[in-house]
Amino acid sequence: MSQPRTPQPVVFIHGVTFAYNGEPALEDIHFTVYPGDYVAVVGPNGGGKTTLIKLILGLLRPQRGQVLVCGQDPRHRHAPIGYVPQHAAFQGDFPITVLETVLMGLPRHGRRTPGYRKDERAKALAMLDDVDLASMAHRRLDTLSGGQKQRALVARALMTDPQLLLFDEPTANIDPQGKVCLFDLFARLIPQRTIIVVSHDLIATASHVTSVAVVNRRLLQHHTIDEAMLTLMYGEHSPSCPISPYLHRLRRTHRDEG
């Protein structure tokens, strides 16, 4: 009798250690993400969340261990990754239209002419339509609200039809209404894609995620929000710790409502 086939992980990280100038940022990380997963990466500032994303993107090289994206070394990968960097990573007042921002996401090969082809523009407009920004295509990006800008960057990340989408703090500097819209958009994208979201806001991501990775130099992957919250509160030895009265109350309320 044949065994059910395990799908190839989209992200496979095994025993990875990374340090900046001898100062460890991540130690002995093990992290696996399968197709269709929606993973929230949470943890304190300086805990190594962005380093983890950069390792997956191939922007950093691990000093020890192995990182594979769709079975390949991310520095030589052929499978595209859709990436939405932190809000602070790009210039807010840059002279660029919303459409040109999205067109920037086209694969790099064959980019040697300064203009764009008709089919490329049509695709960018379709992506903008997906994020409800088609009517703003020809406006300057800096005239959009924070939430609209993030949606434009999501459209840019979708231009390569990526299997994997990485979001680094997508809801920073966005009002609560904008956050809800953005996470609803992620939920719409999930059936065809795998999503990893770095966020401080575990509550905002909680409604959709399939697992939570708590990163603080080491990484613990959980399949429930409760477990993740315990790890965030008590560290990696949380199972032996008493559950806080707050979580007890939260669980009871949850059970009663259920």
Binding site: L57, F90, Q91, F94, P95, P107, H138
Partner: protein
Amino acid sequence: MIDLLQLQFMQHALLAALLASLACGVVGTLVTVNRQTFLAGAVSHAAYGGVGLAMFLGLPVFPVTVLFTLAAALLMAQVVRRLPARADSLIGVLWAAGMSLGILLLDFSGGYNADLMSYLFGSILAVSARDLTLMAAADLVMLGVVLWYYKDFLAMSFDPEFAQALGVPVERLHSLLQGLIALAIVLLIQLVGLILVMALLTIPPMIAETRARSLGGTMALACLLALMVSLAGLFLAVRADLTSGAAIVAVAVGAYLLNAAALVWGRRLFSS
């Protein structure tokens, strides 16, 4: 006025203004959007070392200054990349060192050199046909490189991290940008001089950045603005017997202030 245009030195000056405006608009826009103004300022002053070296060795000034400035620009780019925390101080050191080297080498060359003043304050009215050919060739190289790598420059300037994730060789492109800055600076030295080169390289792109909707649009508008302020400054200099470089920059600063006032007034009108 028409009589003035019949004169060869004036025709050369107009052509030089056109060629310098192209460099200023295209490379100046990349300097401005990449927040490289301080670095470009340091490179422009270090270029003086190249002028001094050429005069000391008795070699042609343009190619020697291009090579020297290029080396200085790449060195400064390395400093920024490897020691970001101390970059501003170290760039300050290189800025002063390049300029002092130029002056010392000119001292060793013996006697007062009339060209010294022209490299400090510009001499657009003394541009020769050979200078124009060199400037045109440098313009062609710069425009060709920027057109070829336009999308990569756009991605790197807007969002370097995303560009890197997309496979854009950001570090190499950054070095290429330093090369273009060095070339543009040497080109502009003859127009407005070392002291004022930064103003022409940054003011027209800064005005254009507030009015255009794209990087390409900013470059085109900056070229046009640079040409307009150069021509206005040139005619002002000839009419009022002023130093041409200073007159050009005075016009550019005036245009910048007018644009800033218009933006503030526009915002107030919009908000009321």
